[in-house]
Every structure is written in structure tokens, then in C-alpha cells.
């Protein structure tokens, strides 16, 4: 009799402890959980629902109609959407440049130069600067009439320097350049973290064998950094497709449709043209595109195992 009672008491105590542990756990994550349920779970479901309606900021709730696949069908024939997708694919071209530069810089400031901490700090500065300030500064620098960049080109003998942001041809490269300038330092820092994991002996052995710095970079550093490169490529693809503030500030998609991107067009459709349902359907297409790119990248990565 006594034994079972004792056991019962013990299991009871354990249960209480478990209950307490569970309660404390959920209490600790309560803010997170609420945020997750409202701003992720509910928001995702709601946005999916929204994409099948003609939801609008200016419409009353009762007047919102279910339109089925209409939004998605409209996208197929929307010229602005086509332009956005094509521009986005164009912008993907900056990724290799950005990643290669970051890798080189990281290789350098890891241990190849003097004052490495100063360089690290300087490279990181654009990343912690407001995108509005960056845009404002570069906007004046690229001013086609009297900006210093064109003044310099003119003084070097170029008679008709590019019109930069007001030119259909040059607007995209200019924005691309800005993306690189803003992001490269951040990627450098991420590569530095990965570099610290490469054993020094590898480089020492290579030096003994007479490998040049360039050989060391291409034969040791680059292959061993490939997991980081992989991660950064996916991150860049995602960011290029969804970032919109730089475009909104610099060009508002113009001139013409030359710098429209999906990210910006979603903002424009939802808040300027008041077509939230349509914008939501675009957001879902965006998600699918990002997922396709991620899957492709995963596939190609697997083939190249070493």
C-alpha cells in the first residue's frame, strides 16, 4: 500500500514539474508565438485568400468580391509585370560580381594586408547607412548635367557621358552598381566568418609548396568557401527579387519601365493603384519564383560535391 502511494506521489510530482516546465516554456515564447500566429500564419493565409479577390484599400469590406483566378490571369498579360520579371532577371547579373568581390575583399582583410580592422570597418559602413541617404548622395553624384561623375568623364574627354538614372539604357546598371556598393561589405563580413574556419596549415603548406597568393585564392579559399557562396547566392536572389525601397526612392520604376522590379511593382499596385488583391497574387508568384531559384541552386550544388 505504502509503496504505491509513494510512487503515485512521485509521478504526481514529476507531472507537476513537467506541467510547470511546459507552462514556463510557453510563457517565455508567448510574445514570439503571438507575433508568429498573427504576422506569419494568419498573414500568409490572409494574403493567399486576398489574392483571389479584388481586395482594395478604398473598398468597403462588404463590396469585396471573390474573383477566382482573375488576378493571376491578369498577370499573364500585364506588360508592367513582364518588364518587372525581365528586369529582375537582369539584376541577377550583379550577384556574381558582388560575391566575387566580397570573396576577394574577405581574403585580403583576413590576413593579407596591414590595418585589416580599419578596412573591415570601412567596407561595412554603406551597409549601416540609411538607404534614403545613400540614394540621395548617389543621386547627386550621378546627376547627368553637373554631377561630379559626369564632370570627371567630360574632363577625361568623353563628350556625351551617360545620362545614368534618366536613361533607359543606363538606369539598370546604375542601380546594380549601387546594390553592389551597398552590399559588398556585408558579404565580406560573412565571408570573413567562414574564412576563420579554414585551417591556417593549409595556406602554410601551400606556401611551402610555392603556391602564389593567386593560386591560394583560387585553389584553397574559393572551394572551401563554397557553402557560404551557396548561402549568399540564395540570399542575394531573394533580396534582388523582393527589395523595393532603393527603386522607390531612386527611380520609381522609371524611366519607362526600365527599373520596375516585382518587389517594387507589388508596392506600387497595392498602395498607389489601390489593387491589394492583385498585388497579393503577385506576391505569391514572387514566392514561387524564389522557391524555383532556390531549388535550382540546391540541385546544382549537390552535383558538385567534393
Amino acid at each position: 500500500m505504502k509503496k504505491t502511494e509513494l510512487m503515485q506521489q512521485k509521478t504526481h510530482a514529476r507531472r507537476m514539474r513537467n506541467l510547470k516546465e511546459n507552462l514556463t516554456g510557453y510563457l517565455f515564447i508567448l510574445p514570439n508565438l503571438v507575433g508568429f500566429l498573427v504576422f506569419t500564419v494568419f498573414a500568409v493565409l490572409f494574403s493567399f485568400f486576398m489574392s483571389f479577390t479584388d481586395w482594395s484599400l478604398i473598398k468597403k469590406f462588404q463590396n469585396i468580391k471573390f474573383t477566382g483566378l482573375e488576378n493571376y490571369i491578369d498577370l499573364i498579360s500585364d506588360k508592367w509585370f513582364h518588364a518587372s520579371v525581365i528586369n529582375n532577371v537582369w539584376f541577377l547579373l550583379v550577384i556574381p560580381v558582388m560575391i566575387f568581390l566580397a570573396m576577394v575583399f574577405a581574403f585580403m582583410v583576413n590576413d593579407k594586408v596591414f590595418f585589416k580592422n580599419t578596412f573591415r570597418t570601412i567596407l561595412y559602413l554603406p551597409n549601416i547607412t540609411s538607404v534614403v541617404a545613400i540614394s540621395v548622395i548617389w543621386f547627386t553624384l550621378f546627376n547627368p548635367r553637373s554631377g561630379p561623375i559626369n564632370e570627371m568623364l567630360r574632363s577625361l574627354g568623353m563628350e556625351n557621358p551617360p545620362q545614368w538614372l534618366s536613361s533607359v539604357v543606363w538606369a539598370k546598371p546604375t542601380i546594380g552598381l549601387l546594390m553592389i556598393w551597398k552590399t559588398v561589405g556585408y558579404y565580406t563580413i560573412l565571408y570573413l566568418a567562414a574564412l576563420q574556419g579554414i585551417p591556417r596549415q593549409l595556406y602554410e603548406a601551400a606556401t611551402v609548396d610555392g603556391a602564389s597568393t593567386r593560386q591560394q585564392f583560387f585553389k584553397i579559399t574559393m572551394p572551401l568557401l563554397s557553402p557560404t557562396t551557396f548561402m549568399l547566392t540564395i540570399l542575394s536572389v531573394m533580396n534582388i527579387f523582393k527589395d523595393w525601397s532603393l527603386i522607390q526612392i531612386m527611380t520609381e520604376g522609371g524611366p519607362g519601365t526600365s527599373t520596375y522590379t516585382i518587389g517594387y511593382y507589388i508596392y506600387y499596385a497595392a498602395f498607389k493603384k489601390m489593387r491589394m488583391g492583385y498585388a497579393a497574387s503577385m506576391a505569391w508568384v514572387l514566392l514561387v519564383i524564389i522557391m524555383i531559384f532556390t531549388i535550382i541552386r540546391f540541385r546544382t550544388e549537390k552535383k558538385r560535391d567534393f
Binding site: F42, F105, K112, F114, L125, T129
Partner: protein, 289 residues
């Protein structure tokens, strides 16, 4: 005993190595200049009038300090001191909210064993891939139903409800806290709240400083939030005010540059001042821009 291989190399080798390092340093100096020149141009231009600003070759050090830009920014009709205070207020609340929600969440995911913990965490992690555009529109609707449009609440309340990246970051740090330490505290009868505040938190100071820094910069520079939610000028934060300013006074470059300096230099100075402290930690944790 083997000698270390480097010691075999001659003086000559060391000299060429030094020269090589010097050349690579020079290359990095050039790179740094392209990074820094826009900032120097901004600062220098903010003290010049629009005419001498576009003079070529560039006068990096203006002959006379022109303060009209700063006067217009800080004493004009559209006054930056209000925007500055708005930004300080929102950034402060956002950072406090992030610290509370992310450290508590991170601790729970790392150190408390509750039912469904790992699947919840995995779910949270996998949703980080979802582009913000998906949730942006519903979030706007939620805020408008709550009556938060054109209120600062819409800008800082979400930070109190957890940031996936911050929670993830803090979890990594809490995982490194040795379990034995917590066990011995538990033996002494301490509960999780006590352990969390008295034992675990002091051990993750490095992670905490990275968290604070990243979200400080993020909240201070946040442009998209205010653009969507704020309408009245007197509620503007600095990034939105700068955009408004550059549209409104599109030809008054001196004032625009003075406004840019006013909003960026505090953050840059703070970063440069604390960089030795940060770069290492940011390097070791990686991620988040």
C-alpha cells in the same frame, strides 16, 4: 625536431613578402576610397552652397563654411528636431521590444523543454524564407483595423512580438551556455525566470550587443514601415523626412546633404567608435543586414 618551415626562408623572402603585403594594402586603400568617397562628398557638400558644390574639380575642403543647409534643416518650417525625436523614440522602443522578446524566446527554445518546442522552432525558421511582400499587405490591413495607421504604434509594437532572426540569433548564444551551470542552479531551487536573468543573460552579453546593434541600425534606418503607415508630417521618422525633404527641396542640395549628414553621422560615429567591439562579434555570428 622539425624546424618551422617559414624559418628556413631567407631575409630576401621576407622582404618580398613585405612588399607584397604593402601592394595589397594599397589595393585595399583604393577600394576603401570608393566606399568612403560618397560619404566625404556628402559631408563636404553639406557645408557648401549649391554652386560650389558642383564645381569641378571637387573642392573637398570648402573655403568658407556655409551653414545655411544645417539652419534650414534644424530651424526651418519642416523641423528635423521633431523627426529626430520621433526616430529616437521608435528606435528605443523597438530595441527594448526586440531585447525582451528575442532573449526570452531564444532562451526558451534553447533551454526549456516544453512540448512542441522543436517543431515550433523549425516552423518559425522555415517561414523566414517567405518574402516580406506576402505578409506586408495583410499586416497593413491588421494595423488599419486596429486603427494604427498614422500612429507610431504600428512601427514599434511588432518588435515586442518577436523577430525571427533575433530569436534565432539569441538561441545560438543560449545553446552555448553549459547545461551543468543551469542544473546546479536548479538544484538550489532556482526557477527558469531566475536562471534566465541571473545566470544565462550575463553569459550572452556578446550576443546581446550584436542583437542591440543590428536592430538599432535596422529600426533607425527603417524606411518602408513609415512610408506605408505614417501620413502626417509631424509623425515622420528621419528616413521618411529625408525623402520628403529631398522631394520638396529638390534643388537645395546643400540642405539635402545637411539633412543626410544629420541622420547618418550619428550612426556611423557610433559604429566607428564601437567597431572593435562589434566587427568581431558580427563576424562570429554572421548574417543579417
Amino acid at each position: 625536431m622539425m624546424m618551422k618551415p617559414q624559418l628556413k626562408f631567407s631575409e630576401n623572402y621576407r622582404a618580398t613578402r613585405f612588399v607584397k603585403k604593402l601592394l595589397l594594402t594599397l589595393f585595399m586603400v583604393l577600394v576603401s576610397f570608393t566606399m568612403l568617397l560618397p560619404f566625404l562628398w556628402m559631408i563636404s557638400s553639406s557645408f557648401k552652397d549649391s554652386l560650389s558644390m558642383f564645381k569641378y574639380p571637387i573642392e573637398w575642403f570648402p573655403k568658407e563654411l556655409n551653414l545655411t543647409g544645417y539652419k534650414k534643416v534644424w530651424q526651418g518650417d519642416v523641423n528635423f528636431s521633431i523627426f529626430f525625436l520621433n526616430s529616437v523614440k521608435i528606435t528605443f522602443l523597438a530595441v527594448v521590444g526586440t531585447v525582451i522578446s528575442c532573449t526570452m524566446g531564444g532562451y526558451a527554445y534553447a533551454k526549456i523543454k516544453f512540448i512542441g518546442r522543436d517543431s515550433l522552432f523549425l516552423m518559425k525558421l522555415s517561414t523566414m524564407m517567405i518574402p516580406s511582400q506576402i505578409t506586408m499587405l495583410p499586416t497593413f490591413m491588421i494595423f488599419s483595423w486596429l486603427g494604427w495607421i498614422n500612429h507610431h504604434t504600428a512601427l514599434w509594437v511588432p518588435f515586442f512580438l518577436g523577430q525571427p532572426f533575433g530569436t534565432f540569433l539569441m538561441r545560438q548564444y543560449f545553446l552555448k551556455v553549459p547545461e551543468e551551470l543551469l542544473d546546479s542552479a536548479r538544484m538550489d531551487g532556482a526557477n527558469h525566470f531566475h536562471i534566465f536573468i541571473k545566470i544565462a543573460m550575463p553569459l550572452v552579453k556578446a550576443g546581446l550587443s550584436v542583437l542591440i546593434f543590428l536592430y538599432f541600425v535596422w529600426a533607425w534606418n527603417n524606411y518602408e514601415g513609415p512610408l506605408l503607415y505614417i501620413r502626417s508630417t509631424n509623425l515622420y521618422t528621419l528616413p521618411l523626412a529625408l525623402k520628403f525633404f529631398s522631394d520638396e527641396f529638390s534643388t537645395n542640395y546643400t540642405a539635402i546633404m545637411a539633412a543626410s549628414v544629420s541622420m547618418t553621422v550619428p550612426v556611423l560615429a557610433l559604429f566607428v567608435g564601437l567597431q572593435r567591439f562589434f566587427i568581431e562579434d558580427i563576424t562570429s555570428t554572421g548574417l543579417k543586414g
